[in-house]
Symmetry: C2
Amino acid sequence: MAKKPITIYDIAKKLNYSTSTISRALKDHHSIGKKTAEKIKAEAEKMGYRPNTLAAGLRNNRSKTIGVLISRINRPFMSSLISGIEDQAKKQGYTVIMIQCDDDYESEVQNANTLYDLRIAGIITSLAMQTEDYAHFKPFVDQQIPVVFVDRVPESFAAYKIVIDNYSAGYKATKHLIEMGCTRIAHFAGSQKRAIYRDRQKGYEDALKEAGLEVDCSRVVQFDTLSAQEGKKAMRQLMQLPEPPDGLFSSNDTAAVSAIQYLKKKGIHVPKDIAVIGFNNDPIASILEPQLSTVSHPAAKMGKLAAQCVLDNMDFVAKEGQLNQVTTLETELILRASSLR
Amino acid sequence: MAKKPITIYDIAKKLNYSTSTISRALKDHHSIGKKTAEKIKAEAEKMGYRPNTLAAGLRNNRSKTIGVLISRINRPFMSSLISGIEDQAKKQGYTVIMIQCDDDYESEVQNANTLYDLRIAGIITSLAMQTEDYAHFKPFVDQQIPVVFVDRVPESFAAYKIVIDNYSAGYKATKHLIEMGCTRIAHFAGSQKRAIYRDRQKGYEDALKEAGLEVDCSRVVQFDTLSAQEGKKAMRQLMQLPEPPDGLFSSNDTAAVSAIQYLKKKGIHVPKDIAVIGFNNDPIASILEPQLSTVSHPAAKMGKLAAQCVLDNMDFVAKEGQLNQVTTLETELILRASSLR
DNA sequence: TATATTTACACAATCGATTGCGTAAATATA
DNA sequence: TATATTTACGCAATCGATTGTGTAAATATA
């Protein structure tokens, strides 16, 4: 029963042309006459021809696909990022494939290999929390496949990188809490292996210092994954300090929301007792009660830029080698009830 | 500087074997001696050989990839579904690629073609809200590529389908509201083109009838996408009725959450004035205040089953043709503050 | 009119892995 | 010892699209 797919050979036979002419006509090669091309295209359409991307990919050693390797798709930030990438890629006839690694290094390595094996045309990735070795991206570089890192980017690997100004964001968020009168501000910090979290923390510390406030490391909690569970645990821990915090700057919204829920359950008022600000502006931030102050993250824009970057540099990389350039996007404070007092 | 990727030809030359022997050794073909196979594998590893999946795919007219075509990845339900699919697929050496169609029919058609062109080994899909024509899945059937529909499945297309018992879920949810004393229960209904929404509505209506309550169609609001925006608008509309509802069964959590937010803003108490129950058990359901009662959806399990189904039937389909079978999973009421009184 | 240039198309090699068929030796069974 | 069977491996075609090289005609330019 299986109908055999139509190939350019079928079209060639039918129209008495060679396959080269068919192939060229289908992609508007200049050496094919306009009428001929039209006729061929019409017939291809009529016969229900669908190009075999595998064959084309094999020949060109490249498929028209952009790979996205990320920790998890179920985070609002990642969803937006992907949408941005897809919008841009689709415009240029590229398909986006996503693969998640659960924030696990081993899995990241394996998935990078999988993408490599698929001969993707470019890869966009945000590192897993603990990744410190970047050898799994070398094969792409060797094959002159554009690699673009976004958000969680490596420091010791030459490639295109798109980030936000985490230092400034951390600084602004903390300064805001200080202006709200907080003097004992806690911080939910992400893995120190990732610059984005170190930078946020540095911004936090500098804001404190600038205001003449003490930087008390017992108020800084190190997180593994910035999950809700960790958020709750961390908050409990913080409240047991001899001097509990009166403000919190969390490196993501998930942990901040969880912390607020814990506080509410304990009868501690937000923002009166503790003012809280998160990071990312997840949808949940505006649904939680009190609504969560946060730092906006231009995830969709980041995705769009990343895709553009991959596409623009497809040829460039082949000729000139990987770009090593950093683009920094701006963030904005979004102030809501959880920190306003 | 592009290092050329290692091929089986390179290994063959180095080891003085033919490429056929290399190819067979790499996949433990019975006709290759154990020591030979070991030696070849060791050398392949040492040389950094990576199979060219495009070449293999071309030859087999199939790539080791499962395609997932869904409306949007940024819904918790979809994220869970995908995780379920990935877990299962990975176990069998398959890669999962996702492609979203924004709940748009045109986009669904186009993306189905894209997946087809990629010569995927199987496709798992949940229909867009308005899809009524399924011709874009025919090519898969013609090529004996397993097609598995999940959740939003077609009624007039022979394929494997995995669904939940929507009628029973709608019935249970409504009955619960009735037991809580509601007598004027409204319903947020999804597109009538999708059986899942029709069935939920049918369950809702039957529960009302069974309790001797009037089924008032002015209390049933038709939604396009069950978005937050629509939810707010619908709630406002319902509250303007001469007899506003005292209960609400929403076909998803997103719209329910939005409705509750609207009610809170208007000073209408949930659940006292209006008891609300949603659908899907999104994470937000337990964060909202009051926490949202809802119907659990076994999305991850559904994904796992779907993947299993695709993988199991890969060979079967080629021999016996498409399966046309429906698997129905059970749901559970999850009762929280928004409906308990 | 003579030379360039452009247009129009075909031949055949190529990308890398797979596999049916064939050969030959080694081992097992009668 | 003779026949079967298994083990071990190579040859060469194949999957479908692409593209460098080449030829010939048509059109343009000098």
